[in-house]
């Protein structure tokens, strides 16, 4: 559906995108995940035509769209600040993209009603924008980008300015709406929870490059690099020199490995470690241990009956399935 | 949104219409640029209009100096077709700027030869008047003041705060009076015209911007609020102040030797006019008996055409100085700016 090949973007000497290549299938939701400044938003702007790529090709539905004006690309873009037109009503905002087409007033009204129903804002047609709550504005912005039936929908941190509790419920809603509409979408966020909920595949971005692109499960259990590991908050990176687990390590040229928390469990014998921190958080307990010469690891204990104290000696079992070689720098 | 576009349309329409209003106002008749003191009897002008079919518009452009300057600034694309009211103190500036088309009226032969010079190739003399000091007779009688008989006397203490004169930069009688003082006191020596003017100013002489301001605002006989019983005006002004009941004029001119300067007013056809023929007809009209005879009581000046019968009132009260100051026009041309400049720097400080 969308095919990016070696897309570069520079502002003078400052290279913002350094060769992005990406394929997105029909009906797929891709999530661009990364810290601010990683180039996520720039990539969206290049695809939308708001920035002119310095190099590379963009093919949308078999059509090369490099050099086309944004208004000729028929893509949807939902801005982080929603960019709702403050001088128009809800209905006028949603209808804005429809007027450029060849619909009569009756059809426009029908489509607006349809979309308002989709985002569950029935009856909001004549509301002025400044009287909407943040969540309502977000949904109007979504409806507005959906209205002209774009070939590709892009959402730039659509929930970024909302508070956490609202975000949780809305992210599922946005997911369902996109899937219901059968749209291909690119979703930009810096929040991995959001990404996991919404994405078919996640692309981790750093310094204008894609570090790894994979399904959420694959990403979580098979991270490629130390950056991805740290970005996902997985911690337990060990060096290939680590004596204690030398024999467990797979035969690999990698110099660093991730001991995935999922692969660490308490055992009656095995690897010797000392508990340094215990954090109880309801359904699980995060345990940090110090493994001699191999640094400190963190894993989770799900059995509420197990009690651990700081300083206690424990034995660990490592499932070698969960020892993941990381790419060399 | 619709309302805004409609508003915009209405606005653009208004702009277009207003351009039309102004644009179609180009004079369709003969326009005469003249000074603020111009006047003519309705019936005299009406007769001309009837006879020739030429509508005449009078455009008063301020003081004589200002209308000349305006004409110089608009040379080639004039404000009017005819310029009337340029006098011998400003004539050379206009001739130098080439603002006039040459025209010699067939009626020039009727003009008193004293008023003819080589300038008549371009301009035609119409009238003359002597710039003299006028005084309020009643004031001088009540205060038992002697009427000054020379310019020098005006600086005497008994005349302190009694005279109003005009700024020569902005008023043509003002300039004429300045020329008279230059002629009387000279530019060099122990006591120059500038020393004289300093003394006049020390003696609380008021300087007004224009003749009409001086006469109608500050002169006791010209305005109820006036407080100055002497004013620089014309020897032909007193008929204007004749009381119909008592048949006496409340003012008189001082026509003593060396106190008056003779001003000749000319008319010329402005280069750039498209109505040359009508303009020529108008110049001829100004030399006609009807206009010449109308001049005295309308503008209080003397006609230049010989043997015009003066109105009784005028003949009786208007005075003609025997020996007005005569200054070579070339000398005036050469020094006018200089005199005005020096005067300004001395008097208006």
């Amino acid at each position: 559906m969308l095919e990016l090949k070696n897309v570069h973007l520079s502002y003078g000497p400052n290279e913002v995108l350094k060769g992005i290549s990406l394929n997105i299938g029909q009906g797929e939701i891709i999530c661009l995940l990364g810290q601010s400044g990683s180039g996520k938003t720039s990539l969206l702007r290049v695809i939308a035509g708001l920035e002119q790529e310095t190099q590379g090709s963009i093919v949308l539905a078999g059509e090369r769209i490099n050099g086309l004006k944004p208004q000729q690309r028929h893509v949807g873009l939902m801005f982080q600040d929603y960019a709702l037109f403050p001088h128009m009503s809800v209905a006028e905002n949603i209808a804005f993209g429809l007027r450029s087409g060849k619909m009569d007033a009756q059809q426009v009204r029908q489509r607006v009603d349809e979309l308002l129903h989709l985002v569950r804002l029935d009856g909001y047609q004549d509301r002025p924008i400044d009287q909407l709550s943040g969540g309502e504005q977000q949904r109007v912005a979504l409806a507005r980008s959906l209205a002209p039936r774009p070939r590709l929908l892009m959402l730039d941190e659509p929930l970024g300015s909302l508070d956490a509790s609202l975000r949780e419920t809305l992210v599922k809603e946005v997911h369902d709406i996109i899937k219901l509409a059968g749209l291909t979408a690119i979703y930009v966020t810096h929040d991995q929870q959001e990404a996991f909920v919404i994405a078919d595949r996640i692309a981790i971005m750093q310094h204008g490059q894609i570090e790894q692109i994979a399904t959420p499960q694959e990403l979580y259990y098979r991270p490629h690099s130390r950056f991805v590991v740290e970005f996902l908050g997985l911690h337990n990176v060990v060096s290939a020199d680590c004596e204690a687990i030398r024999e467990l390590l797979p035969d690999d040229t990698a110099r660093e490995f991730l001991i995935h928390p999922k692969g660490i469990s308490l055992a009656d014998e095995g690897l010797n470690a000392v508990v340094t921190e215990v954090i109880f958080s309801g359904d699980r307990t995060a345990v940090t241990v110090e493994v001699p010469l191999c640094g400190s690891w963190r894993f989770f204990v799900y059995d509420p009956l197990i009690r651990l104290d700081v300083g206690q000696q424990v034995y660990l079992h490592i499932d070698h399935e969960f020892i993941i070689p990381l790419a060399n720098k | 949104m619709k309302a805004l576009s409609r508003l915009l349309l209405v606005f653009v329409f208004l702009v277009c219409v207003s351009s039309l209003i102004i644009a179609q106002d180009e004079p369709i008749t003969l326009t005469v640029l003249t000074h603020d003191s111009f006047n003519v009897s309705e019936d005299v002008l009406a007769a001309f209009q009837e006879e020739t079919g030429i509508e005449v518009e009078i455009l008063r452009g301020g003081d004589a100096g200002q209308i000349v300057n305006q004409s110089v600034l608009t040379a080639g694309n004039p404000l009017a077709d005819v310029l009337y009211g340029i006098d011998n103190t400003f004539l050379s500036r206009a001739l130098g700027a080439g603002i006039f088309l040459p025209y010699e009226s067939s009626l020039l032969g009727t003009v008193d030869s004293r008023f003819l010079s080589e300038a008549v190739d371009y301009v035609t003399p119409i009238d003359y008047g002597d710039v003299c000091i006028n005084y309020d007779v009643a004031y001088f009688e009540e205060n038992e003041l002697a009427v000054p008989q020379s310019l020098a006397e005006l600086t005497a203490p008994e005349y302190e705060g009694l005279l109003v004169a005009q700024n020569p930069a902005t008023s043509s009688p003002g300039l004429a009076f300045l020329v008279a003082t230059v002629s009387e006191f000279g530019e060099d020596g122990d006591y120059t015209y500038l020393d004289y003017w300093s003394d006049l100013v020390s003696n609380d002489t008021l300087i007004a911007d224009s003749w009409s301001d001086a006469y109608f605002t500050y002169f006791t006989a010209g305005s109820e609020d006036g407080t100055y019983p002497m004013v620089v005006s014309y020897a032909s002004s007193p008929p204007f102040t004749v009381d119909e009941e008592t048949e006496t004029a409340s003012t008189e001119s001082i026509v003593a030797d060396g106190m008056c300067f003779r001003q000749i007013e000319y008319v010329g056809i402005l280069a750039g006019t498209e109505k040359v023929q009508a303009a020529e007809q108008f110049v001829d009209f100004m030399l006609s008996e009807a206009f010449q005879a109308d001049l005295p009581l309308q503008m209080y000046v003397f006609p230049v055409v010989e043997d015009i019968e003066l109105p009784e009132l005028f003949a009786e009260y208007a005075q003609i100085p025997e020996n007005p100051v005569v200054v070579d026009p070339a000398l005036i041309e050469e020094n006018r700016e200089n005199w005005i400049q020096s005067w300004t720097e001395t008097v208006l400080r």
């Binding site: 939308a48 208004q71 690309r73 893509v75 960019a83 | 008063r60």
Partner: protein, 557 residues
């Protein structure tokens, strides 16, 4: 289509630059040229005559002197007023504060006429006193005095200075005065050691602005000053219109431009410095409680009202009150074209002219001002030219209208721009004065539009024109209305440039008023009054419109 738009955009950039280049820079450059070589050869005689002449030196000294005095008295009067506005609540407070736009829209000729109607020899005050005490002559003799000029200058600048100082003062922390009071500062010390030093930036800025305005005072001095008092502006006018001494006029203009440029640059710097102060604990105005406070507040309000409203009221009353009874005679006279009138056309025609010129000016100024605002806001072409053009926008304000008029006369006299005698010069001159006001109104509104709005519209398929028409235009429309009204009011009242370039057959209202005032006789005076009232009403209407549409923070002055 894309190319048309791209090139069209550059065309839109060129348009205002061409306009300013042709009708501002070129005339001003001609003045420069003229003052150095009037007859084609390098010649400093214009400057020499100025440098060596005590007369011109006096003009310069007088210009500075009267501007300094005007500034001093304005600030002296404004400080207690500002104290009252900052510290006390009273009815009409915000209305009085908003009056600071009034001087921009009140024509000088109207104000001059208004003061003549109040304290002139035939003014209300004098006639009343004469009736009351059976006096022969008017007791108040202020015509052609420096006092009268100063009074009018204070009238003009009081509200402007008040607004600047009050705005700054309100932003200062109330804790400072509290602390000083706790430390035992008495009333004197409070003013000398606390308030004045704290307010210094605002006082200097206000004083500089007042100085700029009064330094270039033209109409007020020309009408009320008589020939003895001439500012540089008036001198330039005399040298041109009365003496046709163009080299000297050009040299004087040059001096004026340079002085004004320095002052404007300094002012721009001060303005940047001032914008930094804001506090979390501002001084909150409270109601006056003790009788001393009430007296103080009342006294200051009395000054404001007497100063600002009395002359305008006197003007209206005097135009209707003829020989002890109300009459519309002066107004009906306006419709008549008397053959021996000094006016070429009936005065009513001047009203039509003024409105026509006003509309044309509004049109030109709105187009040019909006384009300039886009250019400066970097919205038209994505470059950095904006920051260079930004200060240039204010240049026509630094150049006096009289200089502009002189520049037109000197520069626009040859084909293909032989406009010297065309009425077109009037709306063009007015537009030059008005365009900065439009640009200054539109720019902040434009800057408030987040870039994502037009981008969102673009992604939704809108063409650049549709984005402008549907998104940007509606969002700047309020500011546009403010700017347009400013332009209209400025055009209506403009005097300095008009007096140079207007032909007698197309006079504007201020010119007719000036011409009538210069003529003797009650009827002329009466017509001048009536005409002034009409002009005043239109300008007050414009002022109300501006205040109605002006949002807080809109308009960078």
């Amino acid at each position: 289509m894309n190319n048309i738009w791209r090139w069209g955009r550059y065309g839109l950039v060129v348009l205002p630059l061409l306009f300013f280049g042709l009708f501002y820079l070129y005339p001003v450059a001609t003045i420069f040229d003229y003052s150095f070589r009037a007859d084609g050869v390098f010649d400093l005689s214009g400057f020499a005559s100025i440098a060596t002449s005590a007369y011109y030196r006096d003009t310069l000294v007088f210009t500075v002197f009267q501007a300094t005095l005007s500034t001093f008295f304005t600030i002296l009067l404004v400080l207690p007023g500002a104290y009252v506005f900052v510290h006390y609540k009273f009815p009409g407070r915000s209305l009085l504060l908003s009056m600071s736009t009034l001087p921009f829209v009140l024509p000088t000729v109207v104000v001059a006429t208004a003061f003549l109607a109040l304290i002139g020899p035939r003014g209300l005050l004098n006639t009343a006193l004469m009736d009351l005490f059976n006096l022969e002559a008017p007791p108040i003799q202020l015509t052609h005095t420096l006092t009268l000029i100063l009074i009018v200058h204070v009238f003009y600048n009081y509200s402007v200075a008040l607004r600047i100082i009050v705005a700054y003062w309100s932003g200062l922390s109330s804790r400072i005065e509290d602390a000083a009071a706790v430390l035992g500062a008495n009333r004197w010390q409070m003013w000398w050691r606390i308030r004045l030093p704290l307010l210094r930036p605002a006082i200097v800025a206000a004083a500089l602005l007042v100085f700029i305005f009064t330094f270039t005072s033209f109409g007020v001095v020309l009408i009320l000053g008589g020939i003895r008092f001439a500012t540089l502006e008036v001198q330039i006018y005399y040298q041109t219109i009365n003496l046709l001494n163009l080299p000297t006029a050009a040299a004087l203009s040059l001096i004026q431009i340079l002085i004004m440029l320095l002052a404007m640059l300094y002012y721009a710097r001060l303005q940047r410095q001032m914008s930094s102060s804001q506090t979390v604990v501002p001084i909150r105005p409270k109601s006056a409680s003790t009788w001393q406070q009430r007296l103080f507040v009342g006294g200051n309000l009395f000054v404001v009202i007497v100063l600002l409203l009395m002359p305008l009221l006197a003007l209206i009353v005097r135009s209707l009150w003829i020989d002890g009874q109300f009459s519309l005679e002066y107004y009906t006279l306006l419709g008549e074209n008397v053959r021996n009138s000094v006016l070429f056309v009936p005065p009513m025609k001047a009203i039509a002219n003024s409105i026509a010129f006003g509309l044309m000016t509004t049109f030109i100024a709105v187009v040019m001002g909006t384009l300039l605002a886009y250019l400066v806001g970097d919205r038209l072409v994505n470059t950095r030219v904006g920051r260079f053009i930004d200060p240039l926008i204010m240049l026509p304000l630094a150049t006096s209208a009289v200089t502009l008029g002189l520049g037109f006369i000197l520069a626009l006299d040859e084909p293909p721009l032989n406009l010297r005698t065309s009425w077109v010069l009037i709306p063009i001159a007015h537009s030059l004065v008005a365009t900065p006001f439009v640009a200054r109104s539109v720019l902040p509104a434009l800057r408030q539009i987040p870039p994502s709005l037009p981008e969102a519209a673009q992604v939704l398929g809108a063409t650049p024109f549709r984005i402008w028409r549907r998104i940007e235009l509606p969002l700047i429309s309020r500011s546009l209305i403010v700017g347009a009204t400013f332009a209209f009011a400025i055009s209506l009242g403009e005097f300095g440039a008009s007096v140079f370039v207007a032909r007698p057959d197309t006079p504007t209202m201020p010119l007719v008023i000036y011409r009538l005032l210069g003529q003797p006789g009650t009827e002329n005076y009466g017509q001048a009054l009536a005409m002034s009232v009409l002009l005043l009403l239109v300008c007050l209407g414009s002022f109300l419109l501006i205040e109605r549409f002006r949002e807080a923070g809109v308009g960078e002055f």
